[in-house]
Amino acid sequence: MKIDAPHPAVEFHDLTVSYDKKPVLWNIDMTLPKGALIGIVGPNGAGKSTLIKAAMGLLPLGSGYVRIFDQPLDEVRQRVSYVPQRETVDWDFPTSVLDVVLMGRYGKLGLFRRPRKADKALAMECLRKVGMEAFVKRQISQLSGGQQQRVFLARALAQEADLYFMDEPFAGVDAATETAILGVLKELTAAGKTVIVVHNDLQSAAEFFDWIILLNMRLVAVGPISQVFTSDLLQEAYGGKLTVLAEISELIKKRSVPSREKY
């Protein structure tokens, strides 16, 4: 099942990605609509995080390309925001909540320029949107998991982007944070922005998203939730692990075969 979006926000064209020489995504080919809240769903090791990292240019592509707003990523970087997984950074780093949110402004500021008053005001506004304005001066080491996630979201908002990639923003957060984050995401999409979220919980996925990408090393299905969230397709994504695909990946890694032939 593959539903195409006219005038897509993101286009993946025949994308193959390897992680540590092992192919984890095969021939992903799809288009994603503007202004939608899109969930990437699939079992562990399906390549969900890999997909958005590849889209953000953080991983080398084995083949294919990604176009955002019909342009290469480098042309539109200022319009794209990325929220990494919370655990990927050291929260004992000596810095404050405000400082982290201000990092969202660095892309627009460019080298050498320091954040100005307007940037700080915007950062404050973003913190307010995620309900963290009382924590501006707090050291990030003193935040709870949910608060850390909200700070990351505020940093992304500070980028004032049109497209957001988020890696498991709902993982391990409290109920209040979940509601707060979902509220912000809905607001973004209502304003015409596109939000693409890696998500691990099937039950809430059904409630949260407009569009669903079902992934398991390959694209199982993509489209509006009503058409994609069927028991057959879910069964295919979660149950039908293609063991041959996994074995081939292992072989490629062991023998260092390039994923596309080169002479």
């Binding site: 953080l58 970087r77 990494p84 000596p94 660095y106 892309g107 080298l111 954040p115």
Partner: protein
Amino acid sequence: MEQLKTFFSFADPNIVSVVVGAVLLTASSAVVGTFTFLKKKALVGDAVAHAVLPGICLAFMLAGNKNPLVLIIGAFVTGWLSLVVMDFITERSKIKEDTAIALVLSVSFGIGILLLTNIQHSGNAAQTGLESFLFGKAAALVGQDLVVFSIVAIILIVLVAFFFKELKLIAFDENFAKAIGLPVKGINLLLTSLTVLAVVTGIQAVGVVLMAAMLITPAAAARFWTNDVLIMTLLAAFLGAFAGLSGAFISYTAPSMPTGPWIVMIISIIALISFFFAPKRGIIFRSYEQARLQQTILQENVLKELYRLGEIDDDMFRARSTEELVARRHFPKGRLKTTLRRLCQQGYLSQDDGLWQLTNEGQQKGKRTVKLHRLWELYLSKYMRIEPDHVHEDAETIEHVITPEIEAELERIMDFPDRDPHDSKIPY
């Protein structure tokens, strides 16, 4: 004492230059080292420091003199080479990073010593003093050397100041930095070059062997005192400079002493003091906090037991003996006495004739702990499906941890229940 006076009167222009040199060198390596530390690359710095030695020796052999610029270039080349080799080994072979670092460090230092011994036996008169690169000699830093090394040190500090915002972001969240389009590769390359340069200049004062300490220790010490990267960097620079200054003084008063070990010893003492005495992060503060927590738990337990005795007799404010308390549960004897006395001082208990009686406030506090205990027991058995006879132990700990917010949340989701799983009344 007399020497201290002469030294710090700065009457001798030689002293001034030695001091300026030592302070600049140590401060600049501390500034660069702050980011090496934050990026958790301390060992890499050590390897680079050792790999610099063969470069210095080779440069000397080729040039035949100790021109500081030539030596810097030689050191820079092998320092960089060591980084490339470490990366190559980690990426292209099955050898892991720590092994690669150890390999590069020992092999290049071995080659360096080999070359140095060779030079020393070659009979070249210009070589005297080359061995001070091993353990450093701040007092030898005069004339042309001083000018060159000071300029490099200043360049280091200025570059870090220029790229401060980017260095901070990359140290915290490299993927995000890449995602917003910062030239991460370029800035990492810059930081690496700065590290190599810091090592190259720093070894004048501290020597190859101990250079890593000068790079990392000031930052590690500063980390204990602050939670802000900028303050941490400035503090590291200050601590490094202080150690450098002391080293210069020792080098001046006792020229036969190697400066490096002294500087490193002083900065290590500062680091140790920070480790123990810093507020919040220091060990002493943390054990004090731990002891205070223990004390609070003991106090809450005493009030709780008095409250429960009151429940049994239906008389909250009856005066009770220590024996009655100990019969309810085990309390460490000596600490029970001091705890009871302290509770009296704080107004939770009153004492009369060796008997203890709850005050109104004490009764409230005891009631809250009992309530939290029973709420948690109920929560465990109801929501986590734990058998009622297994919930008590857990609740014993958790009752002291629950915050007012969680308390309200528990009351809300269970709708102010009456009875715990053991059918005891939950008091509100």
